[in-house]
């Protein structure tokens, strides 16, 4: 039994009203990948923030290589070689990659006060090579895609020659190929003796990568397990506290009805062309492919959020005209990929957010009646089991899963006929995922049609009735229910 590289003992952290961490002990050994799992609000991110010095623990002790240390701030954390890759990128858009990698650790130049940019770029080059990311380090970050930014984040962490790397759902935004790159890299790091604390909601990853799994729930440490000795279902049960079917399957599937959405030869400036697809009432149709293959772009074009340059879109066989406003009026709904940026008015109440879409339907006269709005909102809150005392509460106070429910709930008052779900389960925990799926299922049973984008093929496989796979802006192929397997999706999705 080697002494752990770093250890936390009986750490507690309390926020007004919430005990975020309650006597949690946690250790990480050199060269191991320690999976940290738990529902949102279980305390994962608090633990992480304490590790990196963003929060101060109320109680608890820290040990580095067996001797007691204290973390007063980010500086200490860095000194102990702890580096964190947050989910919300900590990159500065109008600085270049190199400057971002060394933000706060700029090398001093010969002239006192100035920074040595040559050295910064040289070093950045080195780090980028280390993770096999070939890009000019002097590219401004605002020019990078989300996956590339993720790479920069990792490079940033490694550049601090971290001995302990904390990753918060690093694959959430990555395509499969990029994910493989990441995993390969993680292996390399392990061999170098780097310890990795890996937070994930994707059970496949947990078992594929993990040397050890620690489960948190409601701020308490529930269990610490070894993958070989556990099954996914056990794990999920531990996380949620009640048995949940991790790989959600739909009890019954309605027989597809009329064609709700028909897209013919859709092409757009945002890099997709000749996209043809149909969705029938009662169907959940998947739209998959690598990140950057044009899934989201197609979805936005169908919804009218972006202009299409050519092609035809028919909703219930009526051609629709390219503005999101028009699409909404005709009963189309979009659940965008980014809750915070595109889905919610964070500084407004849950109720305000829920009634927004349905305003015209709820108040045809144009007169807004708060009481009626409240009732409508509460109805949705109850229907979707959104965990909140009152719809008057600010939506920002909800957990990720519940926020996602609000984004979906917005459309229930608008009785939409066709829904586009773009990454509906990104960054939400297993329990919430199951509920979202149940919701999709409910919608199609009520005769709606759904187009669902997801990077997690397992979800597509389990949820969808059919799926289209995109590759670099084209539909690479369509998979009927019986041919819908992860292997097929990957085969179609990546270049031969």
């Amino acid at each position: 039994m080697t002494t752990p590289l770093f250890e936390l003992r009986e750490v507690s952290k309390e926020f007004p009203g919430v005990k975020a961490l309650d006597n949690v002990s946690f250790e990480i050994k050199a060269g191991e990948v320690h999976m940290l799992v738990g529902e949102n609000g279980a305390g994962k991110s608090t633990l992480m923030k304490i590790l990196c010095g963003a929060y101060r623990a109320d109680q608890g002790t820290f040990f580095q290589n067996g001797e007691q240390v204290a973390i007063h701030g980010p500086a200490d954390a860095r000194r102990f070689g702890i580096a964190v890759i947050f989910q919300e990128f900590t990159l500065v858009p109008y600085l270049d990659i190199a400057q971002n990698i060394f933000l706060g650790r700029e090398f001093k130049g010969r002239i006192p006060g100035l920074i040595d940019r040559q050295r910064i770029h040289a070093e950045a080059r080195r780090v980028l090579d280390l993770i096999g990311f070939s890009i000019d380090p002097s590219t401004p970050v605002h020019k990078l895609g989300i996956a590339q930014q993720q790479m920069v984040e990792i490079a940033k962490a490694l550049s601090q020659d971290a001995r302990i790397l904390v990753m918060d759902e690093p694959t959430a935004a990555l395509s499969d190929r990029e994910t493989e790159l990441l995993f390969a890299m993680i292996d390399r790091l392990k061999k170098k003796g780097v310890a990795i604390i890996y937070i994930s909601h994707r059970l496949s990853e947990v078992f594929a990568l993990g040397d050890r799994i620690t489960v948190l729930r409601d701020g308490r440490k529930i269990a610490s397990l070894l993958p070989p000795e556990t099954t996914p279902d056990q794990l999920v049960t531990l996380m949620v506290g009640r048995p949940v079917d991790a790989t959600y399957t739909r009890p019954s599937r309605p027989t597809p009805g009329e064609v709700v959405l028909e897209v013919k030869n859709l092409s757009g400036p945002s890099g997709f062309s000749n996209v043809n697809l149909t969705v029938r009432a009662g169907e959940i149709v998947g739209l998959c492919g690598l990140v950057g293959s044009g899934r989201t772009e197609v979805a936005r074009a169908i919804f009218g959020a972006d202009r299409a340059s050519a092609g035809e879109i028919r909703l219930n066989s009526v051609p629709i005209g390219g503005s999101s406003e028009d699409s909404v009026r005709r009963g189309m709904a979009l659940i965008p990929e980014s809750r915070k940026a595109q889905g919610l008015a964070l500084n407004r109440s849950i109720g305000d957010n829920i009634v927004l879409v349905g305003l015209r339907k709820l108040f045809p006269s144009g007169i807004f009646v708060p009481r009626r709005a409240m009732k409508a909102a509460r109805a949705v809150v109850d229907k979707l089991r959104i965990a909140t005392p009152s719809p008057r509460r600010p939506v920002a106070t909800l957990s990720g899963g519940n926020q996602q429910k609000v984004v979906v709930g917005k459309w229930l008052n608008a009785d939409a006929k066709f829904y586009i779900f773009d990454e509906p389960t990104r960054g939400i925990d297993v329990g919430a995922k199951a509920e979202i799926f149940r919701l999709l299922d409910g919608l199609v049973h009520n005769g709606a049609g759904i187009l669902m984008i997801s990077s997690e093929q397992i979800e597509i496989v389990h949820i969808c009735d059919r799926a289209y796979v995109m590759r670099s802006g084209h539909i690479a192929g369509e998979l009927q229910h019986h041919e819908l397997t992860e292997a097929n999706i990957v085969r179609l999705g990546i270049h031969q």
Binding site: A54, V92, L103, P140
Partner: protein
């Protein structure tokens, strides 16, 4: 940014303001004989210096997604204090120090209110604008402060090797700000303040400390602007700087600095200031009536922003 991308990104952005500047110069040179003379060019540049001293720090402040509406008033008050000390003690050094101190104090006050009490910059500086303006009136009771030693005048009217001193001061100020923004940690963190404050926190850098320093830099530059203003008027007047902050903001907006995500461009600010200066000077030389001049300035601001908007879409 590395020199290469820096140069590139700047070239890519030149048109909006540069077209305006080149175009205006062309027109005025063609239509007004007096315009393209060394004397007049020196004249325009000299006139632009005070505004530039405000527009440079304002660019950095706006890059932090902040704003400083108090600059004009602070300039005024600093200039009054400077003049009063000069009159009282006859010591230039003391006077200049006093003026800069006023600038720094207000800069700190702004920064502290914004960073520590997190009052939004717009309101904070709207408030301190009132305070500085009020103090200027109270201490002078509306009178100009005159009788300051002639030597102060030299700061504005003096020349070194035939180049007007204010132009040299402005050039220094620009170089300093440029180095500060593109070559130092301070500058790097300004990009971060506007672009992603979380990144700073994670890197263990005090956002509040940075903010305070940015506004103090603004105050300091306002202090120097006050020195030039006092030298220029050879007196201080409680209304001298009113509204200059808006001119500065307009100039940097014309220069292509956007109000979001720390997307600023210092060279553009310089061009913007000169463009506005050239416009006013040219219209005066052409004896265009003031009412038309007023309209032209408005048109310039909107036109330049419109161009950048178009280019942004491409």
């Amino acid at each position: 940014m590395s020199t290469r991308t820096l140069v590139f990104s700047q070239l890519a952005r030149v048109p909006g303001v540069a077209i305006a500047l080149v175009g205006l110069c062309g027109i005025f040179a063609a239509t007004s004989p007096g315009f393209a003379t060394p004397a007049n060019i020196a004249n325009v540049l000299t006139q632009s210096t005070i505004l530039l001293l405000l527009a440079l720090p304002m660019t950095l402040i706006i890059m932090t997604e902040g704003l400083d509406l108090s600059m004009g008033a602070v300039l005024t008050f600093a200039s009054i204090v400077l003049a009063m000390i000069a009159v009282g003690t006859g010591s230039i050094t003391l006077a200049v120090a006093g003026g800069l101190a006023v600038g720094l104090c207000f800069g700190f006050l702004n920064g502290a209110l914004i960073a520590l009490l997190d009052i939004p910059p717009f309101i904070t500086t709207l408030g301190t604008l009132g305070i500085a303006q009020g103090l200027s009136l109270v201490v002078t009771d509306g009178q100009s402060v005159v009788g300051i030693p002639r030597t102060i005048e030299a700061f504005y009217s003096g020349t070194v090797a035939g180049i007007p001193l204010p132009i040299i001061i402005a050039a220094l100020a620009y170089t300093l700000t440029h180095v500060l923004l593109y070559r130092t940690r301070f500058g790097t963190y300004i990009f971060a303040l506007g672009g992603n404050r979380e990144a700073l926190k994670v890197a263990g850098i005090s956002v509040r400390g940075m903010l305070i320093r940015v506004y103090m830099f603004g105050g300091l530059m306002a202090g120097f602007a006050a020195l030039l203003m006092t030298a220029r008027l050879n007196s201080a007047h409680p209304t001298a700087g009113i509204g200059m902050e808006f001119d500065a903001i307009a100039a940097l907006a014309v220069g292509g600095t956007s109000f979001e995500r720390g997307n600023g461009w210092l060279l553009g600010t310089l061009l913007g200031v000169v463009t506005v200066g050239v416009l006013r000077n040219g219209l005066n030389l052409l004896a265009v009536p003031s009412s038309a001049q007023v309209a032209c300035i408005g048109a310039l601001v909107i036109a330049a922003l419109f161009i950048d908007g178009l280019r942004g879409e491409q």
